[in-house]
Every structure is written in C-alpha cells, then in structure tokens.
Symmetry: C2
Subunit: 416 residues, 2 copies
Amino acid sequence: MTEFFNVLAPDEARALLLNHIVPVSGQEILPTAEALGRVTAVALHAPQPLPTFRRSTMDGYAVRAADTFGASGSLPAFLDVIGEVPMGQAAQVILGTGQAALVHTGGMIPETADAVVQVEQTQIVGTESKSPPYEIEVFKSVAQGENILQVGEDVPTGQEILPAGHILRPQDLGGLLALGITEVAVRKKPRVVILATGDEVIPPEEETEPGQIRDINSYTVSGQVIAAGGVPVRGGIIADNLAALQEAAEEGLADADMLVMSAGSSVSFRDMTAQVIAGLGRPGVLFHGVATRPGKPTIGGVAGGKPVIGLPGNPVSAMVQFDMLGRPSIHRLLGISHPVQQGLIWANLTINTASQSGREDYIPVRLEKTAGGYQATPVFGKSNLIYTLVNADGLMKIPLDNGGLLAGELVEVRLF
Amino acid sequence: MTEFFNVLAPDEARALLLNHIVPVSGQEILPTAEALGRVTAVALHAPQPLPTFRRSTMDGYAVRAADTFGASGSLPAFLDVIGEVPMGQAAQVILGTGQAALVHTGGMIPETADAVVQVEQTQIVGTESKSPPYEIEVFKSVAQGENILQVGEDVPTGQEILPAGHILRPQDLGGLLALGITEVAVRKKPRVVILATGDEVIPPEEETEPGQIRDINSYTVSGQVIAAGGVPVRGGIIADNLAALQEAAEEGLADADMLVMSAGSSVSFRDMTAQVIAGLGRPGVLFHGVATRPGKPTIGGVAGGKPVIGLPGNPVSAMVQFDMLGRPSIHRLLGISHPVQQGLIWANLTINTASQSGREDYIPVRLEKTAGGYQATPVFGKSNLIYTLVNADGLMKIPLDNGGLLAGELVEVRLF
C-alpha cells in the first residue's frame, strides 16, 4: 500500500471519525455517592416528589394568608400563636381562623396553613416568653403560598431528572440522593490501548544511549485518556516493523474499545500505521492528515465501531491531536449528550503571531492575570519540544482562515 | 455569645480566609506515571539536557551547511551520501567535505554535520537504489543548525522545570519522564471533614417521614472536595445541640486539615456554628456573612491555620459558597501557585435578569451552543432547590455593583 494523503479540515476530520464510532454498551451499578464524574447509562426519573411535604423557606409563622390581608405597620393583624412545628417532625397543630404556628426554615407547614410570615415582620405582644402560646402582631400581609416550597416544586414524581449520557457532577449526586436513589447505572469506562513505536524509543526508567529517547507519548496520552473518562492500557513499545505492529494492534483492540498508536512521523512510519489501521476492520482509514499545526500527519480510522488513531511521534503533536480527536472519541464512546466545551479562556495576545491561512494553528501560551483580564504570551521553541507545553498554560487557536493575530487581539485559549 | 453580623464582599471574605490558612506540610513520593492531578511538593530541576544528542527534525540528509551554500533549483549542489544513521543508534559516519548522511526525523546528527536538508529538496542521481552510497542533488541551501534540535534546546541541565505547588498535567508527566524522573514528591491531599446538622436531616438510604429530608450537603460537598484535590471525610449527621456539634467539630478537625459544617440557616443555627468555630482556636471567626446570593449567611474562620467553613443548610447556597470559599481554601492548603481560573464560558444572556446592587449574584443557567456562540438562559425556581443546579450547566455571575443584566449582554458563566 502506498501512502495517500487525504488531508481534512479539523472539524471535518473529527465529525467523520465521531460518526463512525459506536458507543460502548457495557454498564455497571455504583453507589451514587461514588459515581462522581461517571456517565449515566440510562435516563433517571423521580420516584417521589421533592420536597415530599410543604416546607417553610423562612423562620417565622405559618398562617392562613387571609388572616393577614390588609395588615401593615400602622394597622397590624393580631394572631394567636398556638404551637410550634419542631424540625424533623410532622406538623401536628391545626390552625383555626386567627391562629398561627411558629415554624423554622425547612420546617413542615401545618395542613390548614397556606403562607408563612417572616419573623422580622412580626412582634410578640405582652410577654417575654419565646415559647407559644402567645399573641403576635403581623405588620405585612402575605399571599397564599408565600414563603412555602410546595410538594414537588423542586421535582415532581415521574419527571426525568437526568438523561442518559450525562456526566455526574456533585449536584447530580445530591439530587439523586435527595430522592433516595442510592445506586446508579453508569457506562463502563472505555478501555484505550496505547502503543508506542520507534527503534529509538526506550522505557522512561532506562538510561538513554546516544540516539535513544524515552517513551513519553504513552504517558501523556494515558493522562489525557484518564482526564477524558477512559481507562488507559499501555501496550508498551512495539518493534519497528509491520508484522509486530499489526499483531500488537489486533491483540490490543480485541480487548479494548479504542486504539491509539504513536509512531514516528516519517513517511514510511505513517504508511505502516495506515496499513495497520486498514487491516483492523471496516471502514478502516477515514483520513490521513489534518490541516492543523502541530499534528498534520495524524491518521484517523474506525474498525468495527472502535476508533483507531495514529498520532505523530512528536510529543506536542501527539498531545494536541489526541485532544482534538481522541478526547471527543472517548466522549462519543461514553455516549455523552449535551457536551459543554470545558476550559476556555479569553485573553489578550501580547505580541503579533503569524500563521498560515488554510491551517488551524495551536500555539502554546502562558497566561498572566492582570486587572484588565488575562494576557496570553506565546511560548517560543520548536513545535516538537515537550517543554513548550510544560511551560504553557494552554493552547491559543488561530482559525483555519486566518493569516495571523495582532498584539492586543482577544484570543481563545484552551486550558491544556 | 450573641449573633454578630460581619458581612463582607465576597472577594474580601475570600482574601481574609486565604491569608490565615497554612499550607499542609506533608508530602508523599509517587511514581510519576501515577501523579496526574497531584501537586508538586518541591521545585524540580532537569538532571540532564533534553534532548541529550543533536536530533534531526526532518527526514533528509545531514550535511555540512557550507557545502550547500548557493545551491538552487537551477544550480544544485552535488553531495555524496556515504551512509545512513539508523534510528535509536549513535551516528557512526563522519562527513568529509561534500559528503552527506541519510537521517530520519528524530535521528542523531553525525558529529561533523551541522544542518539537515529536507528530502523534498533533494534528488538521487543516477541510481534506483534507496540505500547509500549514492549521489544526490541539493536544490536549496541550508543554514548552520537548520532542521536540527540542539542538545538542551528543550531544557538545559539544571533548569527549574516545575515549581513547587504545580498541578501535574499530562504534559508535565511526559516532561518528567523524558528526563528519567520516574518518581515525584507531591503534597498530601488535604483531609476535609464534613459535618451535617439538623434534626430534620436523615441519611439518604433511609425513608423520610413527614418533616424529614435526606442529607445531601455531605455528598455534594464531598464531590466538590474531590474535584478541588482534597479527600472528603464525611462525619455524618450531628445532633442539633451545641455540645454535640462542638465535640464533633473538635474531633473532626484534630484529625483533618479543614472542617466544613452545613447547618440550618436559622439565626440560632448560625449563632451556634459561629460559637463552635470561635471555640476551635485562633483567630476563630473571620466573617459572618458574605454579600452574595445565594449564601449570605456563610461563616468563615480559621483555627490554627486550618480553614473552618460554616455553610448554610440550603443545598444550593452550600454548593455555591463551597465553590467560592472552600475550593480556594483547599488550593491554598495544597500551596498551589499560579492558579488559572478554570471553566469559564462567555455567553449571550437570552432574557433580562434582575439583581440587587451591592450583592454578587450567582444564577444557575443552561447553556445552548449556537452558530453565534453560547446562549445562557437562567433556570427558574426558588434559589434553594437542588434541581435548579442539576438542570443548569453553570452559574452566571452578576457583579456586586450591577443592578441586573439585559438580554443579549455577554455574561460570564462558570461551569458548575
């Protein structure tokens, strides 16, 4: 197979890849309290209303609203406080006309009451006692329902509370537990096998000889896989020949949901990676090159619904391209709905920065917070130096159709 | 102790709290590959240069630059390719005048070469063989150092590569491993004890009786603690009296780095929480109220360098205030330097939204991505309903001195 170059615009490449991915079907049941960051496998519905009883939103007095109509500072209404609703217990008092009950924030509203008067709008008459019974003056009228949470006002019985494909945040755990949902079905985390290739690549714990470098892509991509919600499986460093890579790729993918290969960026390496992807299954290679810098020689494919990505060996390219293609692939495997773009910052560029029209550029920048907002300064260095990313806070995007940016322009920085 | 109200602006409250916190001193040694998201305990320096040998950034020929000077398409330079530098091995060839060696991207540059000519700028003369020796024509001159990564160009020996207090990202792990740093000292995760109070509060796994609600703050705050880099320790639901809360707080804090109490929001509860904080150690209560909604009745204090936060019982207030005060407190305990604000989105507000000047408002919003950017729509409902947060993508901030926002205005939304 000879090399072909099917270079796509980045958005097009990503859409093509995502369209061929089939979400993982496996799910597991977890205690809700331990499901932070996991993705719901099914839609969830409220088994009961929330709240389950009418609650006061204020410290004050449960009243019959009609008894307060017309009350004002100069013409207060007088009510008999006949009891108190203790926190955590059912309200036992029954209010007749002209009667009220002391309630606390969150306390239950007696059946015959329909509003709460804030304690600040009242005054106890003729006693120092703070325990009912006593008489109060009410200085303000309240409407029916005022200062009361109605049954089911937060969520009514049967309502869909979370869709399938939702990433569970702290408030989601709280919302589920409030309804007594103490276990939740979540999608299995996709397993992502990562292979490194290159005769010059050795494990990080070994000493390098001249000509050798340590494998770092296996580890940077592992970190990115974890951050995206997957489980990285490092397949190690594969010998630099077609048969070995083919075998490792087939073996890896059989047991996983996604495969990432980081190979050299020479033409022969790319050719070999494309050939391996083509041999893994249908539809095979979807694109061979993305109109971005860094990372143009990236290869994207799908085999039997599983994404397979061939990253350049250059560690900066590998990370940027994994972010552009690998992260959304994991999200698609997880079936995540309604994704919100995370980690964007707008900043003012500090110096003119050139680009090339027809290519989307990602330039590492350092952010500085000033009174006028964030300032973004490009981190200099050849684009394949890992420390340009270590020294950066994020990546500044120069769009496809833009020939460069001027100092002072507002730019979009993706925290990275 | 009677209640006093020392209500501060949110920025002021946060600064006061952070200024009194003493970072945790404990550290632990982790394999670098497993240190994602942890915080460096000490500054790290490069034990060797990166790269350790001169590397080619292109597929092509290592040459003596002077041999190519003046070369062009119409007047090529002729060079003898005397060998190839195999990947992963030291370059053995020594170039004399007029000689070149085949090199691959990432390969080692022979000692006597000082530039690389891209293969695309050359042509093999008079042979079909792709293995040296053969002669090439060079169509473009190269400058000294062109297409070469110099020794230490990524990072020189001895350079500080990461400061103390840095959150380790995937590229940081890669940068450390590239230098053979396979273990790293990180700060111990702060232990945050969380206590819930309220006679009406029961554990989530129990069935509620009228007047009772399930504890959710212990779980939402746990999730927020994890997201901020701490370890949550749920201390359970404490009986609603001063002695019990005092004992639980003292016991909890003795064994932890931070204490969070979520109590009712009635005056007597707040009074009790303030009294407990005052009794835990110096300086005690720092502020009693923050000019925000939701969450005004929040209490902040420090005891012996450890932050102690009294959150309102209302779950929305509790989450928003933990985000404003608790999260940065954990970051301060971790000694995090150079924090970059995460998770901000700018969006266009879809409807007019009122606020009150002199108060910072946080309003749950749902985000919708459109061709023109994100649209933010407030989620309606009383401010103490947990499902307003479940149904929201983030919180829209209305600044202290702002009386409200108009439809169409660009607003800052913090993903939440």
